[in-house]
């Protein structure tokens, strides 16, 4: 399998890159959503699966960056893609600020801390006149980008996020993180270095999640605090990663496909698709805790994007 | 019937995931005997006791106790048969009082009705526990904790007690007194299997002894027939 790694990835990439040429509008929409969710779920995977930072507050970055894009384009007339980029940096700033409080916390406290931050942002934005309280903002750039442009932006995010996690995990940082994941004592021995690596991953995660959310809101053109800062975002990311396989790069690639398929198929019954996802996710945790790709890997040794340099 | 078998372990293999800890281990205890198992650290003595008590499941072999096949059963099915383990490190409940610790010992329905009698007996055996019955477990000294652990095990009205390293970290005076109590318990007809680092003392009290080395039984016999050389060989491999 490994022998064909690059040809397979190449075909996949070319396939995705040419969707606007051969795909119908529906396929384009499907691939667009796929790429965006893939990018965000890869980042949750980076945090929870490799860095043992169980974040339940990804929606903080999503909403914060989304609002940055809305405010910058609407109030200051900033060029739309530039405001997406700035939104990403805002997201990193938020992550830095959060880390002051929550990096002292471990495990479950970290999870709760991130969530509470997101809830605070929700309250703040829904009580803030500047962003029109809870009614939300339309994102109205003077020259709205075409669907194809938005699609390529999301493709960059999806492919970029997957490449980023691959590169990080094969770097020195990744080796340290995986050593820590395999053996708790190692992490004690390299305390400071691990702390830096974790912080670095948290920053990367917030940056890419923020950028992706920016693209998502350029596509959705409307942002509202109750949706933007909702825990539902993280719920979806968690389910995608668990179903696909936590701590594997291929996991989110498969999990996202299942999620987008299910959510499009049951588009009119969003709660039923969440209900089903919840049931699938619990079943997977109980029966195959390493997810679809993790189980496949254990049974057959299948792995295309193994971060291990063996 | 002095020859009735209380415990019979045969061909026992135990694995921790990929690592095999016990190899073809056997052990026998007649009713009313004190049997001592000695061996170096990591020889597999605690693994053996934990497997008998049901904390670990063997990959192969059989354990029979008082005529019942118990291998692979969970502890909550083994305790009612009349086997209890006094575990290494005592494992008393630190945030329960001494009294509460003791009555937890008679958790199984079979022993609940005789709880008060058993309690009385244990307070006679270890008067210090009666004095401290309202104190939290973690306020006791090491020796008192060991007495509590033994008392708690007796509350289940056992026929066989497995003792894992009961003298570890205790002062000689305390050890002596605890061994005195063990003899007393044994005289009431309770079979005891001892696992000890303290070779001399455990050989002195035992009717029969086993020596373990690297997960295998290497010697079985009367304590008097075991020479110092054989013990040294088991511990140091020379």
């Amino acid at each position: 399998m490994v022998k064909y790694k690059w040809p397979i990835l190449g075909v996949l990439f070319v396939g995705f890159a040419t969707v606007p040429v051969w795909g119908s509008e529906y396929v384009l929409l499907f691939c667009l959503l796929y790429c965006l969710y893939l990018a965000m779920s890869q980042m949750w995977n980076l945090l929870a699966g490799y860095t043992s930072l169980l974040s339940l507050g990804q929606q903080a970055f999503i909403g914060f960056s989304g609002y940055a894009v809305a405010v910058l384009t609407n109030y200051y007339g900033v060029y739309i893609w530039l405001s997406v980029l700035i939104g990403g940096f805002f997201s990193v700033l938020l992550a830095l600020f959060m880390s002051l409080f929550i990096f002292r916390m471990r495990g479950i406290y970290f999870a709760i801390g991130t969530w509470i931050f997101a809830e605070m942002l929700l309250l703040w934005f829904s009580n803030w006149k500047y962003v029109k309280y809870g009614t939300g903002l339309f994102i109205k750039p003077p020259h709205p980008p075409s669907m194809t442009t938005i699609y390529y932006a999301s493709l960059i995010m999806g492919a970029g996020a997957t490449a980023a996690i691959y590169i990080i995990l094969r770097s020195k940082i990744g080796l340290g993180l995986m050593a820590m994941r395999d053996d708790e004592d190692v992490s004690e021995a390299m305390g400071v270095e691990i702390f830096r690596s974790k912080l670095f991953c948290f920053m990367v995660g917030s940056f890419i999640t923020g950028l992706t959310a920016g693209v998502l809101y350029v596509f959705q053109i409307f942002i509202q605090p109750y949706k933007a800062f909702a825990i539902d975002w993280t719920v979806i990311l968690v389910f995608i990663v668990i179903i696909g396989g936590i701590g594997t790069i291929e996991g989110p690639i498969v999990g996202t496909f299942i999620y987008v398929l299910l959510s499009q198929w049951l588009a009119e019954y969003a709660h039923i698709s969440l209900l089903l996802l919840g049931i699938i996710a619990i079943t997977i945790i109980l029966l195959a805790p390493t997810g679809i790709m993790g189980t496949l890997h254990q049974k057959t040794g299948f792995a295309i994007l193994s971060p291990r340099r063996l | 019937m002095p020859d009735e078998i209380a415990l019979k372990v045969s061909n026992l293999d135990v694995h921790y995931k990929d690592f095999q800890a016990l190899w073809n281990v056997f052990l026998e205890a007649q009713k009313g005997e004190i049997v001592s198992v000695i061996g170096a650290n990591g020889a597999g003595k605690s693994t053996l006791l934990n497997t008998i008590a049901g904390l670990l499941a063997p990959t192969q072999g059989a354990i029979e106790c008082l005529g019942e096949k118990i291998d692979g059963l969970p502890p909550y099915k083994i305790v009612p048969i009349g086997i209890t383990l006094v575990p290494e490190g005592r494992r008393i409940f630190p945030r329960l009082t001494v009294y509460e610790n003791l009555i937890m010992g008679s958790y199984t329905p079979r022993t609940r009705s005789s709880r008060n009698e058993a309690l009385k007996k244990i307070y006679q055996l270890f008067p210090v526990l009666k004095d401290r019955h309202n104190q939290m477990g973690d306020t006791l000294s090491g020796g008192e904790q060991q007495m509590l652990a033994i008392g708690r095990a007796l509350m289940s009205n056992p026929k066989l007690i497995l003792c894992d390293e009961i003298s570890l970290g205790l002062a000689p005076v305390v050890i002596k007194s605890i061994y005195g109590r063990l003899r007393q318990i044994n005289q009431e007809g309770i079979t005891i299997v001892l696992v000890e680092q303290d070779i001399k003392r455990s050989l002195k009290v035992a009717n029969r002894a086993y020596i373990m080395l690297e997960g295998k039984m290497v010697l079985e016999g009367e304590p008097s027939s075991i020479s110092e050389e054989q013990v040294r060989k088991a511990y140091f491999g020379i």
């Binding site: 801390g113 605070m120 389910f239 919840g278 | 969970p74 083994i78 383990l85 494992r91 409940f93 958790y107």
Partner: protein, 288 residues
């Protein structure tokens, strides 16, 4: 000064309600180190259960407790026995994620059956007040919340302290292996403990339903309140649960009093973050 008395009074009474919202979660954390992320949703589920009973029999919501509480015991027992016990182990994430999944399932299940409309358990208590002074009124419903909440916490405390099963649960939480050597089937014991935790959630659900409006997505809001109480008070501590409830409710109501009601929750979270930053193990919690 006079005007401060009202928010303080309400804060104290609301604190009792917060404590009973949190007590079940706190207990389960103390026993199996489980942070039950579905606690809020299961609580709201019992609000709906009460709604159904009230609509069916036409009784006062307080009477519905007789049905809600036993049902919630079985719900808790089965959740623990069939789901959470299977993933309990060295790692903390799997039980957490199972609970998370459960939370989403319950929410969307409620949405499916009861639609997203806001509901409430109406009683004539809601409008009754006892005047205590010129500017001070005691809301009878809040008083009922406080008293019932206090009674539940007392009952839980006595259960753990004085009953044989309560002791067995404590023993298993002190030392799982030690308890299993006593012949305790620790997994079953955890299921009973979860059953009891869900009984408290059942009471909390009915009280919350009587006091505030609720809809299928309100669960997480109460989960965060419960987590706030538990974190401020210290995980697994019963005294801490009461104190945490009081502190959280007072911070919310006093904060809202000095600014605007929209910021009520924000002040609660603020208090929480301060405690987390300064004393991560909570006010009454020991070292973790």
């Amino acid at each position: 000064m006079e005007s401060l008395l009202q928010p303080i009074l309400n804060g104290v009474l609301l604190g009792g309600l917060y404590a009973v919202i949190a007590i079940g979660m706190s207990t389960m954390f103390g026993i199996v180190k489980l942070v039950n992320l579905a606690h809020g949703d299961l609580m709201i589920m019992s609000s709906y259960l009460s709604l159904v009973i009230v609509a069916w029999l036409g009784v006062n919501p307080l009477w519905s407790l007789l049905g809600v509480v036993p049902v919630m015991f079985f719900v808790g027992f089965f959740i623990q026995d069939f789901l959470i016990n299977r993933v309990l182990g060295k790692e903390m994430e799997p039980p957490l994620l199972v609970a998370f999944g459960l939370s989403i399932i319950v929410q969307n299940f409620l949405l499916l059956i009861f639609t997203p409309d806001a509901r409430s358990l109406t009683t004539d208590l809601a409008v009754k007040t006892i005047p205590l002074g010129e500017h001070l009124n005691l809301a009878v419903l809040y008083l009922v919340d406080f008293l019932l909440g206090g009674a539940v916490i007392l009952a839980v405390y006595l259960f753990f302290k004085n009953t044989y099963m309560g002791r067995a649960i404590r023993a298993a939480s002190d030392d799982e292996m030690g308890a299993s050597l006593m012949g305790v089937n620790t997994r079953k014991i955890y299921a009973y403990a979860m059953g009891i935790a869900m009984m408290t959630a059942g009471v909390a659900g009915v009280l919350v339903g009587m006091t505030f409006t609720f809809y299928p997505h309100t669960g997480p809001q109460y989960l965060i309140i419960a987590m706030g109480v538990v974190i401020i008070g210290g995980l697994g501590s019963m005294k801490g649960c009461l104190a945490g409830g009081l502190i959280l409710a007072l911070a919310q109501l006093l904060g809202a009093h000095f600014t605007s009601p929209g910021y009520q929750l924000l002040f609660g979270y603020g208090a929480l973050l301060v405690v987390l930053g300064l004393r991560p193990q909570g006010l009454f919690g020991g070292k973790i």
